[in-house]
Amino acid sequence: MGNGTSIGRVRGLGPAKEGTHHWWHQRLTAGANLVLMVWFVVSVALLPTYDFETVRHWMGQTQVAVPLILLVASTFYHFRLGLQVVIEDYQHDETHIVLMILLNFFTLAAGTTAIFSILKIAFSAGAAL
């Protein structure tokens, strides 16, 4: 908190202390999602077939596994921020708190499972299945 300008004297004094990170992170991840999702959609479209060996071999490569993990991190954080706004708009009181806890659990559980699966595929690439 500064003491120079009038905005500096009041910044951070509201009940939430700060307020723009949610909005800003939604935009940051939107930009990252745009790049990563276009890469993902084009890459999947270009796969010759979708049988087990082809897809597994594709995902086992470092240059695929790494952006895919980044995609999970960015899109899952983005949807967690987005669904928070939906919950805040339509649900209040206890329901709001319960749904926010469920949303956080869902995002973390799904994200961890997704990243673990990608790593498992990448680390066993080339090994006998």
Binding site: Y50, A114, L129
Partner: protein
Amino acid sequence: MANVRNTARPMSPHLSIWKWGPSMAVSITHRVTGSGMATVGTLLFVWWLVALASGPAAYGLFLDVFTVKSGALNVVGYVFGIGLTLSFFQHMCSGIRHLFLDQGANFELKANKTTAQLTYVAAIVLTAAFWAFIIWGKTNG
């Protein structure tokens, strides 16, 4: 006075009290497609990754739900496949439009309406192009 609306004025986006227009329709479509991908899309995406990490049997079960023996999509595959890709492209186009709105641009009524309608056109064209490539684009290579 209540039923005399100045058409040059913008409309409030509340679903229950105003008639539908392109700008508010894109706004609610953005929310619906985002929520759909965050729930249905996430569950299918994670299932796909877990099945792929688990082995041929688990991946075969995943494929059996969405495809027929030849590898082509069945009805379930088309519903979820087209539903999720259309949702994605619509959310993407609407999201890009939103980034311009965030800069304070594109609030002129006519331009705002035009870009709102363009997100639907672009989303349908991109979805059609994606599936045309998946279905017919690979027969030659």
